[in-house]
């Protein structure tokens, strides 16, 4: 019965995960309107945005800081179409996603010829330029942005009753998570991972590396644009403040705290970030300092982020519990042979 320790741990994990799952599904019923909206809903939306960043890093090895700019493009498109043209929100959302992906593919065609830290610098420069663009051009409302964006009637008013919006964001999160996991296992996904690990070898094997990078960037933009649409519906407005450098770094912080290597980390990081963001003003005025220090601590101590720590802990416990088993196993075998 040496197995009990390990099996117990596995069961504990399963029960824990199921418990988390139940809580996540029942957030609108269990918590107050404020908590469900400010914490639950925001976590899901920011999680999707961070997932696009983590996908690009974990699967293709590209750290893109342009994800806020991309969700800004989607957000501005949906806001402009809905408010000024009176387009149906769902149609506007679809158009916004399409436009964002096209823009990302065009930009990706150029930027994806650069690698690593160069790519990071180019995407950062573009993100800051996108911020200046939206804050200067009066067609997009300059500094004020575009206000009064109503989400589809089906979703209700997120601030009065977040239920409809929450489940929409939850379904989007689950679908996108599933999609990322699926894409990872397709030949396309394996090719991307090949590009991440051995770009030169992939090129030699006849793969079109820039094309693969460009496609991956487009896929990342698809995820980011959905976050952008949801964010605009949630805030009922979009302004340059939603895509400035601080926001770009916030998103990076979420991804790093959650874990740059694991897709799940996106939502874990987003939850922690949202909780700190919502409750820290009671204790300190300097929220950004707190976030910056957390960010610094994670980068210095555990580059894998919280998801990395959780996985490390799981491995450690399993090794501790499993070790007894292993030592027991071969020992027995030897005894039998003797």
């Amino acid at each position: 019965m040496k197995l009990t320790g390990l099996a117990g741990w596995l069961w504990l994990k399963r029960i824990g995960l199921a418990g988390v799952g139940v809580i996540v599904v029942l957030v609108p019923q269990l918590f107050s309107t404020f908590t469900a909206s400010a914490i639950g809903l925001q976590t899901l939306v920011l999680g999707i945005a961070a997932a696009s960043l983590i996908f690009l890093n974990a699967v293709v090895g590209m750290v893109s800081l342009a994800q806020t700019a991309l969700y800004g493009i989607a957000g501005y498109t949906v806001a402009k179409l809905a408010v000024e043209q009176g387009v149906d929100p769902w149609v506007a959302a679809l158009i916004a996603v399409l436009i964002t992906v096209v823009v990302a593919l065009l930009f990706g065609a150029l930027a994806s010829r650069s690698e690593g830290i160069y790519f990071l610098m180019i995407t950062l420069a573009s993100a800051v330029i996108a911020y200046y663009f939206f804050s200067q051009v009066s067609a997009f409302g300059s500094h004020e942005g575009i206000n009064g964006v109503a989400p589809p009637a089906l979703l209700g008013k997120p601030f009065v009753d977040p239920t409809g919006m929450y489940y929409t964001a939850l379904i989007c999160s689950l679908l996108l998570y599933g999609l990322i996991v699926y894409v990872r296992r397709t030949p396309f996904g394996y090719a991307l991972q090949g590009v991440r690990d051995e770009p030169v070898r992939m090129r030699t094997l006849g793969f079109n590396v820039p094309m693969l990078r460009m496609a991956a960037f487009g896929f990342g933009a698809l995820i980011a644009s959905i976050a952008g649409v949801l964010l605009v519906w949630y805030n009922s407005n979009v302004s340059p403040g939603a895509i400035d450098l601080t926001r770009t770094i916030d998103l990076l912080t979420i991804a790093v705290i959650g874990g740059l290597g694991r897709i799940e980390g996106a939502w874990i990081g987003a939850l922690l970030f949202t909780i700190v963001q919502t409750y820290s003003p009671q204790y300190t005025d300097r929220f950004e300092t707190l976030i910056g220090l957390t960010f610094l601590a994670v980068v210095l101590a555990s580059p894998g982020g919280l998801a990395g720590i959780a996985i490390g802990l799981d491995r450690w416990v399993r090794r501790r519990l499993g070790e007894g088993l292993e030592r027991h196993g071969p020992g027995q075998g030897r005894a039998d042979a003797g």
Partner: protein, 334 residues
């Protein structure tokens, strides 16, 4: 030669030709509008002032970006806190000049050295032990920039402030062409930029330390193996790079203004300058700064009426064109 390579070669050539064409067209457009060729009403004094604005701004960009590119060239560290160091340097000098009534040039030197020390501490504490992990180092400097930016707001306020220029340089001087007068201090900044540029070029080309830096840029491991204390070289380089950011901040705080958000805008300008010019190249930084400064200023005036607030897109276009023709920047090496 395979069809695919031919295709790639052709599209590359085409992009280059297109970029040249756009460059030519832009210059022609600006000149036609400025000089009033083909029947338009020109405005030569305005053209001179705007061009000078562009060139002096380029001088400031160069001072800041040369520190950025120096650090990157040698250590492959992308110092995302470079803009924060710029702003902090500006604020320090502002305090020294406005509140301690210190001599401007003394304040300039003190603030620049202080920022050099801040940069040195940053490198020694946070970056020295994870050499070679470029992404992690970039993330660390991003985190530091967040903390610095947020701490500067309560320390120095959120309002835009300007440092008073040294006495005698606050006015403007006549240029002798159609009665144009131009702010003296901006010309001083340009002069200092030239001096710094020449100093860096001379230092890198002719001194022993410069030789070590060049060797380090080419092959770090080999330089170290030859018995050179690379860690010391790194520390000194980081000190100089940060010092240049601080110096730029002092000058920028006098020439333009200091406000929260300037850190982001100068980080952006440093990034664009080195992406356009090529990472780690001093000559590239000169060209990149000139391109950015001129595009910045000229586009605000010479874009067709009604489109002037799209001028930031031209900065982006500059970036895109250079990347299309040379992904490693104009003077960059693989």
């Amino acid at each position: 030669m395979s069809l695919r390579r031919l295709q790639a070669e052709l599209s590359h050539r085409l992009a280059g030709a297109l970029a040249l064409l756009v460059l030519f067209f832009s210059i022609a457009w600006v000149l036609i509008r400025a000089l009033g060729l083909f029947g338009g009403t020109g405005n030569l004094p305005q053209f001179i002032v705007v061009t000078l604005n562009g060139i002096t701004l380029a001088g400031l960009y160069f001072i800041v970006a040369s520190g950025f590119t120096l650090i990157f060239g040698l250590m492959r560290v992308v110092n995302m806190a470079h803009g924060s160091l710029y702003l902090l340097g500006g604020y320090l000098a502002f305090r020294l000049v406005q509140q301690q009534a210190l001599n401007y040039w003394l304040a300039l030197v003190l603030a620049a050295i202080a920022i050099g020390v801040v940069g040195l501490l940053m490198q020694q504490i946070f970056l020295r032990w994870n050499q070679g992990q470029d992404l992690r180092q970039a993330l660390i400097t991003i985190a530091l920039s967040v903390v610095l930016a947020d701490q500067m707001i309560p320390l120095f306020g959120a309002e835009a402030v300007t440092t008073t220029p040294p006495s005698g340089l606050g006015g403007s001087i006549g240029l002798g062409i159609s009665g144009v007068r131009y702010p003296t201090f901006r010309l001083v900044v340009l002069g200092l930029a030239l001096l710094i540029g020449f100093g860096l070029w001379f230092g890198i080309k002719n001194t022993r330390f410069g030789m070590i830096i060049r060797a380090g840029v080419d092959d770090r491991a080999m330089t170290s193996a030859l018995g050179i204390n690379v860690q010391l070289v790194f520390a000194v380089t980081f000190f100089i790079g940060a010092l240049l950011a601080g110096l730029g901040g002092v000058l920028g705080g006098t020439m333009i203004a200091l406000a929260p958000g300037q850190d982001a805008s100068f980080l952006l300008s440093s990034l664009v300058v080195v992406i356009v010019g090529g990472m780690g190249s001093l000559a590239g930084a000169v060209i990149g700064a000139l391109a950015l400064g001129l595009v910045d200023q000229l586009s605000g005036v010479y874009l067709p009426t009604g489109y002037t607030n799209f001028s930031i897109l031209l900065t982006f276009a500059l970036l895109v064109f250079v990347l299309a023709v040379r992904p490693t920047g104009l003077f960059g090496r693989r």
